[in-house]
């Protein structure tokens, strides 16, 4: 055997055949991630703003999200995008003389709207106030934890998004990821939000909350009936807020929000502000109504009454 032949046997030599084989193998490795997953990343990256999507765009996005959530939470998750009902503007009433501060509404909301359990996010904050100081928020306390409520000398005021007619939060959003819908609900597109938290600084009610970490929701406690603008599982780094249970109230017939159903004293009222026969209109006409921070001219659609 000549020296050259010995050397050839030990040293790798690229031939046309070998090169083609290698190329084919490399291409097949690139194609390995399932077609769906690769398309999903691509689709999410190029997804349009919610209000600029065509009907087919929206259907594709909803189908993709359903697929993603269903595999993440190992159950069938529905993502809807029910539009506003014509001739409806939602209003909320809360009876300050009935509320006993039991926080049933807070946890009813967490369950319904898939808020992160860890780190904890609550859309409703129940504030304890002193009767002698009235609604002076300087004396507000929301970590109260007695054995029994109500406590003498105190009253309670649950605070959540007031769904303002002139919302300061939507004005400051640099990317228009939050806006007011036709039925008066202020919503967030979690896929468009860049997490700058300007809206949280602008909101005078502390009603917006930020996902500092990936929200943790146990699979079994996920509410699988979701809405794109409402209670669908959120990614890390976006802002979320109360939507008057958009996934329930926009149904036909419309269900009441979860906090209303959770309230044991019947302090919470909900209805259509444009319907003179609705409970919310009756209470505005017949009761003493208090608007939180009315002087800021945010024009809340959340009416405290007593």
């Amino acid at each position: 055997m000549s020296d050259k032949k010995k050397r050839d046997a030990k040293v790798f030599q690229l031939t046309r055949r070998k090169a083609l084989k290698g190329l084919a193998a490399g291409a097949s490795v690139l194609a390995l991630p399932s077609r769906d997953a690769a398309a999903s990343v691509w689709d999410a990256f190029f997804q349009k703003h919610f209000r600029r999507m065509t009907k087919s765009d929206l259907e594709r996005v909803l189908a993709r999200l359903e697929r993603e959530y269903s595999s993440e939470f190992s159950q069938e998750v529905k993502v809807g995008a029910t539009p506003p009902i014509e001739g409806v503007k939602y209003g909320y009433g809360l009876d300050l003389s009935r509320c006993i501060g039991c926080r049933r509404c807070v946890y009813g909301c967490v369950e319904e709207n898939n808020q992160s359990r860890d780190p904890q996010i609550h859309w409703i904050r129940v504030v304890r106030l002193k009767k002698e100081k009235g609604t002076d928020l300087h004396y507000a306390e929301h970590y109260y934890n007695p054995n029994q409520v109500p406590e003498p000398g105190h009253f309670y005021m649950p605070i959540q998004c007031q769904q303002c007619e002139k919302p300061p939060c939507t004005k400051v959003c640099p990317v228009q990821a939050t806006w007011t819908e036709k039925d008066g609900i202020v919503v967030v597109d979690y896929n468009w939000c860049i997490g700058c938290r300007y809206c949280m600084a602008a909101c005078p009610y502390g009603a917006r909350h930020f996902n500092w970490a990936k929200p943790q929701i146990p699979n079994e406690s996920l509410n699988p009936q979701t809405h794109y603008l409402g209670n669908r599982p959120r990614p890390v780094g976006v802002v979320e807020k109360c939507t008057f249970c958009i996934q329930r109230t926009r149904q036909q017939p419309g269900r009441y929000p979860a906090c209303l159903e959770a309230c044991p004293v019947g302090a919470r009222k909900f209805g259509n502000l444009l319907d003179p026969e609705s409970e919310i209109r009756k209470l505005i006409e017949n009761k003493r109504v208090y608007l939180l921070k009315e002087e800021l001219n945010t024009q809340p659609k959340f009416f405290y009454f007593f």
Partner: protein, 205 residues
């Protein structure tokens, strides 16, 4: 010539009568009005005094024009129908403290002013009786409560008092007063609150 002299002689008595009638009417109208001076010293005249309105108002406890979808009344276990025991008993109409039966019921609801048979019908214990004598079922007990708590009854009918579930633009489910308030001890009982939110320091980093 004065206008009086212009009138023909036979018209004069008629005019006098007319004036008298007008004067009497004005006096009568004045009497029906209620007058008083308010704090600023302005004279206030009320066309129909409240007392008159009250006389005109027929005191009735009319059944409501609409019916309300309420769930069955919240009876204690095994207590209803009351006639199981009471059918064979002669009603004792004397006000007294019950010592043999129903001793668990402690009346804490204007107890000095009423007792059992002011609301429960002595003739048929499966029903309730209004002050007017009308007999109603337990499923209409809101009318009984509404006799005294008229403002709450009004609010409840409009959905402002009490909890309503169902649909905001569809069928609604009401609750009877007795679902939240024990009729014999109606004050709402205190509850244990759910845990407070985590303080920022307690949140996992």
């Amino acid at each position: 010539m004065s206008p009086w002299k212009k009138l023909s002689r036979n018209m004069r008595p008629g005019v006098l009568v007319l004036l008298a009638v007008l004067l009497a009417g004005a006096v009568a109208a004045q009497a029906a009005k209620e007058k008083y001076f308010d704090r600023s010293g302005t004279l206030v005249v009320i066309e129909t005094p409240a007392a008159e309105l009250l006389r005109a108002y027929e005191v009735k406890n009319l059944p409501p024009g609409e019916t309300f979808p309420v769930p069955p009344p919240p009876f204690s276990e095994g207590i209803f129908p009351c006639s199981d025991c009471h059918a064979e008993m002669t009603p004792n109409l004397e006000r007294r403290q019950l010592t043999d039966e129903h001793t668990d019921i402690i009346l804490n609801h204007a107890e000095g002013q009423r007792w059992c048979l002011d609301c429960h019908n002595p003739e048929d214990r499966d029903t309730l009786r209004l002050v007017s004598g009308e007999v109603i079922g337990f499923d209409e007990s809101y009318r009984l409560c509404g006799q005294c708590h008229g403002d709450k009854y009004r609010d409840w009918r409009q959905g402002l008092h009490g909890k309503r579930t169902g649909y905001w633009n569809g069928d609604k489910q009401y609750l009877l007063c007795a679902h939240c308030h024990n009729p014999h001890d109606p004050r709402f009982k205190p509850l244990t609150p759910m845990p407070p939110p985590q303080r920022p320091g307690e949140i996992r980093r």
